[in-house]
């Protein structure tokens, strides 16, 4: 059995793993001890898409040199590419179905059919309306919003042409997508076509399968995810910097603790409103508590943190541990990354686990379905249930004391503002500081936790190495939460952890060296920030020219693969850690790791050691700096009048 320190670098997590072991409560950590990864599945050398199998095609020394084929004749390349592509389709479907729910709520809100929702950010409404080619001159907000909702919804069912957001990418990038025929047409169409082409006996050329996987991933990054982010911003406000706190220490023994867990911010937004209701506060006091303490978990936490400063209880691997404190009166879950094990843990305590989406139920949990038409009422109903459950606490409460302040809320709009204020908002200062070398480059470090690697360790080791080397880090999802816990999301962290150049820039602007940009759908914000850097000028003509790199050192979900693949297809060198799902085929891996660079100017890499991975990223950044001619410091030349006149 591994030592606790090997399971997490976070003190609160280690304390609660020990408590779970003492009390014999099953958690993801204890289950991982007995359930080892399948050696064939881990390299995706298994095909189970038809009833003639499953066909196991592992590499073996005995059969070296022999063709590895399934009973239908599908080669190992086809099998591995299909498995990889289907994961991307699932990841894209997840972000995009989230987006569909957001668009549907947005449209109902615009039509006045929801309860508690409104259009909060008119600037963002106008911005997105312009993206969709909607006439805004002299038209009321409501009319613009309805047209936008209808057009956004149409993006899912579109059959031909291209997604609206494709045109936000640099022109050169759009040309590359056209050249390889991977410009996404409609969000649902790409997912459906991917599933069809990976059905038994359809697409059986691994390179061709991977092209559709690329188009599907692009439908996520430049489609579903981007729509989610933008319409959520319109309804709930575009994030601006806000102080929050993170880790299990944000739970309060003397208050009614409610955790919102999952991904869609629709119900969580209503819970924020309801938790401030004086009547409910009074009800909590009558129940013996001193108040209501709403906190978040996983990406739901990121959403309410970014917009309201609601504290985060923790990231993916802490979800069961939060309940083991005995202090959680109710946890809501909607979609994605919520473990079924939660119900078993909840039953050991008084905690009520409430599923809220019509698409996701958990056996044994209470189901209170959220519908935006009665959103606020549902939120109040859930809070009442939590308050009524507060007196039922039957175990001694144990809340670890760990809690850390952090600043979140760095939307790309806010970054533009911070770089120049209202009148000179621009990416120019960022580009200038990259060109002059104070900032070596920019890295997007995102993704999940994975119980097969030490919780949070790879995120923090990689990010500390990057910022030490003057690489500005943009982060989202569970990676961002790991950074929060490690104290990397405060402006003071620049002085302590960043290289002198990056620290100087951060100090001047007043930002942390690691910028929290939101939930996993908000990786689209990173795409847009990178596109703005290109369009500002001076750093090449395409995303692949920029000194940037991406990583997900602790990834585990199919969504992470979709994200990674749309970054690669957008021209970004992307390194994953922990495990890599195409190891079963050298040809498929070589195609993604090497040949994709020729085609898309971005490629995948896999490295388990996070510090070595950081150096792969830094090497790539340096390669791009050299190509741009900004790899060497140049002497400052002050131009006199004659020299100025000599300029053309």
């Amino acid at each position: 059995m591994p030592e606790e320190k090997e399971r997490s670098i976070d003190g609160a997590t280690v304390e609660l793993i020990k408590k779970a072991e003492r009390e014999n409560i099953s958690t993801v950590f204890s289950r991982a001890d007995v359930m080892k990864p399948c050696p064939i599945g881990v390299e995706e050398s298994c095909c189970k898409i038809c009833g003639m199998g499953p066909c196991r095609l592992p590499r073996s020394k005995k059969d070296e040199g022999k063709a590895r084929v399934g009973v239908c004749g599908a080669t190992i390349e086809t099998v591995v590419a299909r498995n990889f592509a289907r994961k991307i389709a699932a990841g894209t479907a997840s972000h995009s179905d989230h987006a569909r729910e957001v668009v549907s709520t947005f449209l109902k809100t615009a039509r006045g059919e929801t309860m508690g929702f409104s259009i909060k950010d008119e600037i963002k409404l106008l911005e997105v309306a312009l993206d969709f080619g909607i006439e805004i001159e002299g038209r009321p907000m409501k009319e613009i919003a309805i047209e936008l909702g209808e057009k956004a919804l149409a993006e899912f069912g579109k059959q031909d042409g291209e997604l609206v957001y494709v045109k936000k990418a640099p022109l050169k990038r759009q040309e590359i997508w056209k050249k390889y025929g991977v410009t996404p047409r409609g969000i649902d169409r790409e997912v459906v076509e991917m599933m069809h082409r990976t059905h038994m006996g359809v697409d059986q050329d691994y390179k061709h399968i991977l092209l559709q996987a690329t188009r599907t991933a692009l439908a996520d990054g430049w489609g579903g995810s981007m729509i989610s982010t933008d319409l959520q911003d319109i309804m709930f406000g575009t994030p601006v910097p806000v102080l929050g706190a993170i880790n299990l220490g944000v739970l309060k023994e003397d208050q009614v603790n409610i955790i919102v867990h999952g991904h869609e911010p629709l119900l969580p937004e209503m819970l924020v409103v309801a938790s401030r209701d004086p009547e409910l506060k009074q009800m909590a006091i009558k129940a013996g508590a001193t108040g209501i303490n709403l906190t978040g978990m996983c990406c739901s936490a990121n959403e309410v943190l970014m917009r309201h400063g609601i504290p985060s209880a923790g990231n993916f691997l802490q979800q069961e541990l939060a309940l083991i404190t005995g202090a959680v009166d109710l946890m809501t879950v909607d979609v994605q990354c919520q473990m079924q094990g939660l119900q078993g843990v909840a039953e050991c305590f008084h905690t009520k686990l409430v599923t809220t989406s019509d698409r996701a139920m958990i056996e044994g949990a209470t189901h209170i379905e959220f519908h935006p038409e009665k959103g606020l009422d549902t939120a109040k109903q859930i809070l009442k249930m939590a308050i009524e459950n507060y007196p039922n606490r039957r175990h001694a409460v144990y809340i670890p004391s760990h809690s850390q302040d952090m600043v979140a809320g760095f939307s790309h709009e806010t970054i533009t503002y911070l770089l120049g204020g209202l009148f000179r908002a621009s990416y120019r200062p960022l580009n200038d500081n990259i060109a002059n070398g104070r900032i070596r480059g920019v890295a997007g470090v995102v993704g999940c936790n994975n119980v097969r690697t030490t919780h949070d360790a790879a995120h923090i080791a990689m990010i500390k190495e990057l910022i030490k080397n003057d690489v500005l880090v943009l982060t989202t999802g569970c990676a961002a939460m790991a950074c929060g816990k490690a104290g990397l999301l405060t402006p003071e962290a620049a002085k302590e952890f960043a290289g002198s150049g990056l620290a100087e820039v951060c100090e001047t602007i007043g930002i942390p060296p690691v910028l929290h940009m939101g939930a996993c759908v908000d990786n689209s914000r990173i795409l847009i920030a990178a596109a703005a850097m290109v369009k500002e000028g001076g750093l090449g003509d395409d995303l692949s020219d920029l000194p940037v790199a991406g990583a997900a050192p602790e990834w585990m979900s199919e969504k992470a693969l979709a994200i990674g693949h749309y970054f690669v297809a957008s021209g970004v060198f992307t390194v994953f850690g922990t495990t890599w799902p195409t190891m079963g085929s050298e040809k498929v891996t070589k195609h993604l790791f090497e040949e994709y660079e020729e085609m898309f100017k971005g490629m995948w890499a896999f490295e388990m050691d996070p510090v070595k991975a950081a150096h792969l990223m830094i090497d790539h950044i340096d390669k791009k700096r050299k190509a741009l001619g900004i790899d060497k410091a140049r002497d400052r030349v002050l131009y006199d009048m004659a020299m100025r006149r000599a300029l053309d």
């Binding site: 950010d121 008119e122 600037i123 106008l126 911005e127 312009l130 993206d131 805004i136 936000k168 640099p170 022109l171 406000g237 575009t238 601006v240 910097p241 806000v242 102080l243 400063g309 302040d405 809320g409 709009e413 806010t414 533009t416 503002y417 120049g420 209202l422 009148f423 908002a425 621009s426 990416y427 402006p491 100087e504 100090e507 007043g510 596109a531 703005a532 290109v534 369009k535 500002e536 000028g537 001076g538 750093l539 090449g540 003509d541 400052r636």
Partner: protein, 72 residues
């Protein structure tokens, strides 16, 4: 008066050590958030902001690296 401030030692462009004014932020924790977007009140102000701050997509002119491309 100057003693109230903290100074840091840094290198100037010639590599010479110089004293520069250190951090001057207020102590304590921020409450709420400062929503810079609320400063834009009218529709015109908002649209003009989009056309200037986010000119990469909303200005009528092509901008930066892509301007050159459009002019060829």
């Amino acid at each position: 008066m100057a003693d109230e401030y903290q100074y840091d030692e840094k290198e100037n462009f010639d590599g010479k050590k110089v004293k520069v004014l250190g951090a001057t932020y207020e102590t304590g924790k921020a409450e709420g958030c400062s929503d810079w977007r609320a400063k834009l009140e009218t529709r015109d102000e908002k649209v003009n902001y989009l056309k200037s701050a986010l000119r990469y997509w909303y200005s009528k002119d092509w901008y930066g690296s892509e301007k050159r491309k459009q002019e060829v």
